[in-house]
């Protein structure tokens, strides 16, 4: 609906769009990026063309060398999730009949919008901080060496530590002041490639014989492998390479090869969104 006014802006973007990564050089966090994107496209986040941002974003994600900056990639996942939420909320038909679920979605959208506003408020406050710190950094105050005569008069130090005490103190002081974090290492170790698992699934199914998912994961003991294989199945399904049947809820899942054209390239692109 609002396509017409913003249409020109969107059309004007391709040149800029190639500079997408440039505009990301001052990337400071997912919401920052979101704001940048929204501002760049002069659009309301509720507008449908948000999908365009999502696409652009995902294509940016593809170009990311995810091995180097896991942290950054994680941030991007947050963006992706937020974008998805926004997109869902944005796609909601407005002004039409509203049921409880729609209301919930609208509320979710408002919440996201409010989060964006909040984030922007802190961002603007940060400008004030920067200015204050900058201004004071040029100021000079008196903080000079104590005159010798006063220094001599400082009371004799009471020292009770032995060398051993002192060493113990050093050990405590130098123990990295680790800020406790919830370790995530166990979640992605060992790394399992969805693509590899997809290749495995393709090899098993391509022959034409339908297989159950149970058969597909036979012998896979590591949970990560099973999950990756399942994700691979989803991806292949999304790529219309396979179809599946499930006769009853939670029942046996039967998979069938349906792709007519499936190349190595199709396989190579699988799971790209996950960065593996």
């Amino acid at each position: 609906m609002a396509q017409s006014p913003s249409g020109a802006a969107v059309d004007a973007v391709p040149q800029e769009a190639t500079g997408f990564s440039v505009s990301l050089s001052n990337f400071n966090g997912p919401f920052d990026l979101l704001l940048t994107l929204i501002a760049k496209h002069e659009m309301d986040i509720t507008e449908v063309s948000l999908s365009r941002i999502t696409d652009e974003f995902i294509s940016y994600l593809r170009g990311l060398d995810s091995t180097e900056e896991l942290d950054q990639a994680t941030e991007f996942l947050v963006v992706a999730a937020t974008l998805l939420d926004l997109k869902v909320a944005g796609l909601l038909p407005q002004g039409e009949l509203v049921d409880a679920e729609d209301v919930a979605l609208l509320e979710a959208r408002d919440l996201l919008f409010a989060r964006l506003l909040q984030y922007r408020a802190f961002k603007e406050a940060a400008i004030w901080f920067a200015a204050g710190l900058e201004r004071e950094s040029t100021r000079h105050f008196r903080s000079v060496r104590l005159e010798e005569k006063y220094r001599k008069q400082t009371p004799e130090l009471v020292w009770t530590l032995t060398a051993e005490d002192f060493a113990a103190l050093a050990a405590v002081a130098m123990t990295p002041h680790e800020i406790p974090v919830v370790g995530l290492d166990h979640l992605h170790a060992p790394l399992v490639s969805i693509r590899e698992q997809a290749a495995h699934v393709v090899a098993l199914l391509r022959g034409g014989q339908p297989m159950t998912f149970r058969q597909l994961i036979a012998g896979a003991e590591v949970k990560g492998v099973i999950i990756a294989r399942f994700l691979a199945v989803l991806e292949l399904y999304r790529g219309a390479a396979i179809a599946f049947e499930q006769l009853e809820p939670l029942g046996e899942l039967t998979l069938r090869w349906t792709a007519e054209h499936f190349s190595e390239d199709s396989l190579a692109n699988l799971g790209a969104d996950y960065g593996h």
Partner: protein
């Protein structure tokens, strides 16, 4: 402010006390102390040092500051008395900062990154706040930024939640000094920045 507790000396000989009070020229004693102090000095600590009530110190400080400013036809000094970070300190008057720069081995600390500034802003307005809560506002991992801010002395660990074990952070006095303000109340109000749609957000100050 307990002005009377700031009078630390023995309460005995009234006459002698009066005599010594007459001897202590408060503004002069204060300027002597300010010459050796290496941190902003609050009125209470000055009152304790000089041995007079806080009210007298407040008044003397005001007189001194005006004196250095040349109020009333006196010389406008090359230095000034500024209240920063909750205390008083001798500063070079801004117009001489440039001349003075070469004389001070200031290791100008590297500028804070944008991420650090924004995190600092979140902590300043929401303190005390846990890292998790900061992260959910910033939606990024803030661990290393928090460590940088701690290392700079701009924030401190206010307390650890006994249940969750989460450390809560607050701004440190050094931040006030480095911003040139006296209290966190002097931060700009953030609500105008939030515009409408922010209703869902409580206590934005």
């Amino acid at each position: 402010m307990d002005t009377d507790t700031a009078e630390p000396r023995s309460p005995e000989p009234d006459t002698e006390d009066a005599a010594s009070l007459a001897v202590v020229d408060v503004p002069r004693a204060l300027e002597a102390i300010l010459m050796v102090a290496d941190e902003p000095q609050g009125l209470v600590s000055l009152a304790t040092a000089v041995g007079v009530p806080v009210a007298a110190v407040r008044q003397a400080i005001e007189v001194l500051a005006a004196d250095y400013d040349g109020v009333g036809g006196g010389i406008r000094r090359g230095f000034e008395l500024r209240e920063v970070g909750g205390g008083w300190r001798v500063y070079v008057r801004p117009e001489h900062d440039e001349v003075v720069r070469d004389f001070v081995l200031t290791q100008n600390p590297t500028r804070l990154s944008q991420a650090a500034l924004e995190t600092l802003a979140v902590i300043a307005y929401k303190q005390p706040i846990s890292r998790g809560a900061i992260a959910s506002i910033r939606a990024v991992n803030v661990d290393s930024v928090v460590r940088t801010l701690l290392g700079r002395g701009l924030i401190t660990e206010a307390f650890t939640d006994s249940e969750t074990g989460a450390i809560h952070y607050a701004t440190a006095d050094l931040l006030l000094t480095q911003l040139g303000i006296n209290s966190i109340e002097e931060l700009p109000h953030i609500s105008p920045l939030l515009e409408d749609g922010a209703q869902g957000f409580d206590d934005q100050r």
